[in-house]
Symmetry: D3
Subunit: 290 residues, 6 copies
């Protein structure tokens, strides 16, 4: 019984109680206001934490335990409903502070647009930044029906900021023709349909580089992740996604931050997507935070 | 078989094929970007239309049939995802045009904030406008955590525009203390918990006045409308809500427009809320469009 | 941003950060191992807290705000899976400590058997204890198919401990013939089907007495609380249950503790039961903790 | 352990093992092929039996136990998928045999059209037959878009067979204008919206008459029975329906058979409708089988 | 805003407004009255169209856009509920007319029996017709418990009409022993379990032949298509099914018509099956309509 | 029509009516009281039987029909709710009797702890017993937070009883570090992630040995079995699991009993897991009972 201090309920399993001592910080970005199809990812971080109680603390893949890593679950960043610009500004400030204090940022979305301010902050610290992006969708639009702040645009914005040749997208199976053409023109790297195989080829070339890994849960086939805004048939298995995370973990790249976005619990009646996401977060903690 | 013209699929049952000849226009306002709790009402209008095929065309309450009224289902107003201000502007323009062309506007939300631009447009045409508002919530906030464009604010904005004493809220059971106090101070009319009984007292006083009726589906108890963003126990039955609509229909007020908002299909696995909403729309058409 | 202290995530809205300063303590009893029908109430407390973010902090019924009461959400009592006796012992010890420290105990189940050790603890402190019990079921069995530790027995155990004439059950609509006969014989008070009306008659007789209020959510009709283990048609509305809580709050009895049990989120796809339960908890805090 | 005889699994709770000795026979009619909206009631009888294990065997309303009545659950009548006429013929033969052997027939649908052959069989034995019909819908069509075998026609067929003045419909809130007009013309009795109150007026007039009771679960409001094909807002509560069954049970009419139809489990994620239906079946057994 | 013409709501994304100018016609066959297990596919076409708004208009597989093909979504063929023979006759007439007017027919079921009248119509125009059939089930029964019009019979009827050696079934994993034996005897081609690999061997042999492609969504594993009447474990992935469609698209066969059947939305709470089906329809349009 | 004998409803399809004549007995063990995460597997056996009506009776994999095997579905063993020890004792006695009477035991869980008393009984008859265990989890704990009777312990208990080197676990992807270390130390065989490939290597070494096969449905990926207590991403497909069962069936080991556990219907809204489980049971009957 713990009566004499604040109860700490819904945090990811084995979260470290002390921010200062932690290497990494886990945080939620509960924003879904620009999605063009099915909203609901604002509740992703809460549900991922909730189901994390069903996880083992040990990874049979990486032979490492959660207590080997000090990470602090800081909860959700409070974001103003229906105000995309202000939300993005708040996220950027938040990451600025985390980076200034030497923490490894590990974010949970929310819609994919939340990755954009994170990447902006990362790039200020790591001018040589590389992005590894796993997703069903290109996310390379300049705008969605006139709106530049849209969940279909973050990788475009990122590519224009850090240079298209520093962006590697994997598992892509949907997008506008123009997006694929733009990527080709400017030298951005798109690997269609597969993740693990092209990743194995790419990773050696990135040795030593600072890498930000952004994973849209819909890179998984709908069979493996029905609980997301925009399901898209023909995706990879959770087994391939786990193997891909492990491939990065064992490579010589320098992972400096990561996120997992677009988990929408209301489309997940069996909670399988949330459970899968919580396992992915565990593997990202164990694999990326050295 | 109809090969030689455009197929008209998802419209409300018995929608008239011709806009010009129609007295009333039914339209969707698929916006849910400012909600502070559970989004999803953007899909409300589509689902309400879809299940309308299960409706009888005759009302045993009003002894009137849908073919006795000419109404045109104009579909959803295309609204920019994640941009509240522009969405509201588009709705206002839309209603301006409907009113200019002499149509009775009957809207389906979407979140409750969509009623605000409609009321603005109505007020331009009807300076003597009265609002009958049925809802679980006061919706009288000035802002939500700093955001003035929020689904918790439309009745406040309306009351300030048309004069608080012209606004009658029924069935209210939730709100901030400040909201109730403000209403009292400025002379706005709030009837807590009940709808039908206070309505019977109020209606005679409004005889001859132009009235806009705005119904948030959550005025119903969660038992009767689980499929909405913010369910709130202790509400009225669908039977009381039907009786209230009929009470207005039979009164001497001049209903000049109406809406039904906040149906969120994803929280409605049995589709009962959508079915109930489609019956309410039928009764609003048959009762309000003379 | 709060980096320098433990994040306190999943607590009931407006929970006070400090145990010592609090008048009341809210705690979960996540046990469902003896239920004879549908399990799942172990997740009730977590989900009730989660959805409490959708609540207003003000009660329009009682004209009181949550910040007027200091209550501390202590989280769930860790209970050993599949071991009823040890679980009950842990709960009793927990309540003993709460009472020794002068706190008002407000519990969330879990199955109804969790009320039994709470009542044992209450009775040690209040030998004149009265129980107000709202439920669809008598819960007066001596055992369930030979098992004395069963969710169908807590009121029997309580009645035998504190004297049957000190137990008042309301809203009962199901039980074995023998249970009703036993109650009659020993002078226990069972009011069938209704809650509010008989309660109004009973309360004046209990003026000044210490009262423990135990509410099984299934006293509500399945329409109002589908998310519970044993739904039973013919129940009361959430409106009647709210009114009954308010009736107690305004009476002259001395409420010394309370619980709300049997919320099972997995049978609650729209989360309506959890939302209703969280509103009931708010009203119990505002009405019972003086 | 029972190794030496056939296992009898999915039967209604407390079903008597022996057909010959039984007064009543419970049977399923798993047909849903003519429904015009949402199919799925073919699985109603199986699910109603399955959840009956959650029932108490005693009725606190009628003070009677299931073991006081000998009824045999004969399982579902095997009906040919997609062949309405042959299905109806098989049902009629089945009931003919039951009646010849002096059994009280208690049926579970399936769609409402299954009541038609039952009524035909009843009428052969009871030329003075009266029908008490509880439903949201008139079911008085001659055909549905040209098909005379439709779930919207059984009461029309019945009224034409046994004489419209012998048919009493309660709770009706939907139908075509023509249906209401026909009923009026021919002297059929339709009581709109309510069940219990008009029933109390009607029952004394039917004293001593043989009565067949047919209940469409959708007479209940969707709040009380979401799991049905055609939900229709504005219905009665399960409490009113229970009271109505009890009113008949205590009256002087001679109930000679009954059915409960249109439970569709797939629209019933919380199983509340199935649980309610199983309680209704229990009360029909205890109330109607003398 | 479009006020002056009929609103065209629920059509597949990018449907061409004009029938005459279109090469292909998309139509629904909302019939499910003969299914022996779980009904509900009548709502398949509507839901597939509804979710098509979430699709990209470009195929990253075929490098082709929807606006490169003129196809007209003609809506659902109105079919009489519960009357299989008349329904099949109406479908056959409908296809006769489409073919007479030179349109490519692309159908959405509904149960698989709807393919039978389509194939009859196709065969009248293409006496050299070949059928490529992807399914979990043989569908080679002569009847289902005596009913010759059953969803388990269409391929048998087709094989007997066009000659068994012209029918190629892929992915089959369920059927009666007699069905497999019959196929073997008469020279029909059944490829068990796999689709893509045997298809690559078969396609070259069919070069230049007119081919009708009929896909039962249950050829997919239940993981990839839970929303269907008869799920059957051990199926292929959506990735393999997409690849198979593309294999046909790139081959030298002459696809003259196609359908996708058995999507049942009510068994698809996350809408993943409907979303997958809508992507398959897009690929069939882009791949088959030249 | 079958009026003169007990109706035998919910049994697995083609269950033999006579126990004495049967080679195998199918039985349910509806216990879930020790699970540490999501309960609900008590309803697994009932639902598996219910959906078995959708199965074909012939296996296209094994070319064998259900009527070729005499198996008797004995229903569920009645187990006392919330009393693990007594439940396990009852199961052990039950299996003792089955084995004494020469029956092949085929069990359906319930939680995995139910396999422990079965294995105890098997070991008494077969001292040379080998266990083939397919699961996501090691299940090698000595206790769960102090409770030795837990669903996380059965394989540990079994390994200690029959000797760790006689236990082969496949598909394992989760467990505590200590569990993997213990297995290694004592010579238990754990094959991580895969099932079919290592099984092909192991089976020849077990030729002639008596083997008990215990399958936790969560060895499947959540995509293939969402309806279970503890889903864990990265699992095998239903196709691999089917192939593994067939591999055992075709090998030279002597399968002497088997079970399939942890199907939890409430997490299975599309019933895909139950349907898959019923197919697995069919293949286990056809493959294991010679």
């Amino acid at each position: 019984m713990r009566f004499d201090e604040a109860y700490s309920g819904n945090v990811f399993i084995k979260s470290h109680p002390n921010y200062e001592e932690s290497q990494a910080v886990l945080y939620g970005m509960p924003m879904d206001w620009t999605v063009s199809y099915r909203p609901g990812s604002r509740f992703g971080p809460t549900r991922i934490r909730e189901v994390s109680i069903g996880l083992e603390e040990y990874s049979a893949y990486l032979d490492r335990e959660l207590e080997d890593v000090k990470y602090f679950d800081a909860g959700d960043i409070p974001l103003p409903f229906g105000n995309p610009q202000k939300s993005l500004d708040l996220i950027e400030e938040y990451i600025d502070q985390l980076l200034a204090e030497g923490k490894f940022p590990l974010g949970m979305g929310g819609e994919h647009l939340v990755s954009w301010p994170v990447i902006k902050a990362m790039y200020k610290k790591y001018p040589d930044l590389v992005i590894i992006h796993m997703d069903a969708h290109t996310d390379l639009r300049t705008d969605y029906e006139g709106e530049p702040l849209s969940h279909s645009t973050p990788i475009r914005k990122a590519a224009e900021l850090i240079g298209p040749s520093n962006v590697y997208s994997f598992g892509i199976r949907s997008g506008m023709k123009e997006e694929f053409e733009w990527a080709k023109e400017v030298g951005m790297h798109i690997y269609k349909f597969d993740v693990h195989k092209p990743l194995m080829e790419v990773l050696p070339k990135l040795a030593g580089r600072p890498v930000y890994v952004t994973i849209d849960i819909d890179v998984l086939d709908p069979a493996h992740a029905p609980g997301t805004g925009t399901v898209d048939a023909g995706g990879i298995t959770s087994r391939e996604l786990l193997a891909s995370i492990h491939e990065i973990a064992r490579s010589n790249v320098n992972v400096v931050g990561a996120d997992l976005v677009e988990v929408a619990p209301i489309y997940d009646p069996s909670e399988q997507t949330a459970n899968t996401a919580s396992k992915l977060i565990r593997e990202m903690i164990l694999g990326f935070v050295k």
